[in-house]
């Protein structure tokens, strides 16, 4: 069994070192990369703990989505304006590390003196293997016992989506209004063609201009002479 312990130490060591990198790195992007490394190692530890589905979910959700989003935001927020780690506040840093050490000591004491143990659960490895594997077991448990929580989670995610949409909607660039609301082509040679306010008295006959179906729903007006000036149905649509 020693090999497993070795692997665990390797993975845990990298995970902790990478986690320390998150806190210590000056550049937030380096922090994010460290975090990814930490998460992937933790995912590998999940596999050791017979939680394959969780391992994959960890990689997909945390590294594949959340950290990618963080990087996205980091890139939108420009680098040179980000506050530096070593920018003063030494007191708080000292207090932070001190608190951390104290807490670590406490937790270590708690773990080492732990005597309380709960009752064994109903999913020993044999039972999990009997239903087909970790995923199948989680599925069974999730969609029977935890039906209500999972629906609540779905609601939570929905609410989060709506909230994010509300938060992140950028102030739209002032929409340029469609200036043209008239129904004309203009002819530079036609006395009425350059003066849009005059009502159209007479329209050219069908022989004068031919409308040519061009592509899809578009037509092209085929002008035969320079004076031609035709009614057009298209102007007045608002852009986009």
């Amino acid at each position: 069994m020693a090999i497993e312990v070795l692997i665990f130490y390797l993975l845990a060591g990298v995970a902790i070192a990478a986690a320390a990198g998150v806190v210590l790195a000056r550049n937030p992007v380096h922090s994010a990369v460290s975090l990814v490394l930490s998460f992937v190692n933790v995912a590998a530890i999940y596999v050791m703990l017979r939680a394959e589905f969780l391992a994959v979910a960890q990689v997909i959700v945390y590294t594949g989505a959340i950290i990618v989003l963080v990087l996205f935001v980091l890139m939108l927020v420009q680098q040179q304006d980000l506050p530096e780690f070593h920018g003063g506040r030494p007191l708080r840093r000292a207090v932070g590390f001190l608190l951390g050490l104290v807490l670590l000591a406490e937790v270590a004491a708690a773990i080492l003196t732990r005597s309380l143990r709960g009752a064994p659960g109903s999913w020993p490895p044999e039972a999990v293997a009997a239903v087909g594997g970790n995923i199948q077991a989680i599925g069974r448990e999730l969609y029977s016992v935890y039906m209500l929580p999972i629906q609540a989670t779905a609601l939570l995610l929905l609410a989060a989506t709506v909230g994010a949409l509300f938060l992140a909607r950028p102030e739209l660039i002032e929409e340029r209004l469609a200036v043209a609301r008239r129904l004309f082509t203009i002819s530079l040679a036609h006395p009425r063609g350059v003066d849009p306010l005059q009502p159209v008295a007479e329209l050219p006959g069908p022989h004068d201009n031919e409308r040519k179906p061009a592509g899809g729903d578009r037509v092209l007006v085929m002008a035969r002479n320079a004076e031609e000036f035709t009614e057009q149905p298209a102007w007045g649509e608002i852009r986009r």
Partner: protein
Amino acid sequence: MDWEPLIVSYLFGFVLLNVLLLAMAYMTWLERRLVAFFQDRIGPNRTGPFGLLQPIADAVKLISKEDIVPANADRLVFLVAPLLSFVLAPLGALVVPFGDAVTVFGRQVNLYVIDINVAALYFLAVGSMGVYGIILGGYASGNRYSLLGALRSTAQVISYELVLGLSLVGIFILTGSLSLVDILRVQQRTLVLGGLELPNWFLLSQPLAFVLFLIAAVAETNRAPFDLPEAETELIAGYFTEYSGFRFSFYFLAEYINMIVVSLIAATLFLGGIDGPFVDGVWWLAVKAFIFLFFYVWLRATLPRFRYDQLMGLAWKVLLPLALINIGVTGLVRLWGIGAL
């Protein structure tokens, strides 16, 4: 501890990696020849017979070029990002079953590297990790075009990852397993429809999911018409604008290996993988993967490029609802099939 299967797996993985690299090299040759054919050109035909040695010449050229690091690049990340991209690309192929167990030197050897019960999710996870190479490369170049390419890639991959995953849920419902080996076994059965004997390929039972998977896979691998992160005419080359020499070639390798891996997975999931008429075998998988690769090249030669907002709109407004509908319908049919409805 039993070391033998582990060593066999490593050996098989090693062989697989080399096959993938070789396939990738000839994929570049094939793509150039095919696009040339589509475009009324000849394509590379000078290096060796039919230009078959062209990939080697390309590799030698790329390796011998100078490796330039821009002055205002984030040096460490800049150097690591292409490697990340390249290392993660072939990992997806580890779960593809290349056939049933064969006997080599009196030992049973499975023709896949690993069979894990989360194989399909593993493929998605590796795919979602692959984007880091692009994001970090684009960020670290210190170039605004690269940064925009990285931003585009981020949004694109997150959106299409979702569609890619949801399009597979129908298959999971039908097979009750996420293991590609199990999914393949289900497809190797025969489906009798009326008097017609059909292979039980999921292409037939999940056609909508197949189309969705195909679109999402093209977007996921950043190929035309979804090649926004590297759009030459807009962002010059997007995230790898600043890369040169062999670091550039890592991105190049990663893109083509990704294409091959996605084609293999698609062939396994929807077209029955190694299943085929006459004799089952890895050649059928190769033929099917080739069809996908041809499709990739065909798309590239034909279609214009989407715009960023149109791309996102397509994913969220069209593909995602369709994927959800597909899941709903499949679930209902399955319940009806086992009499639970």
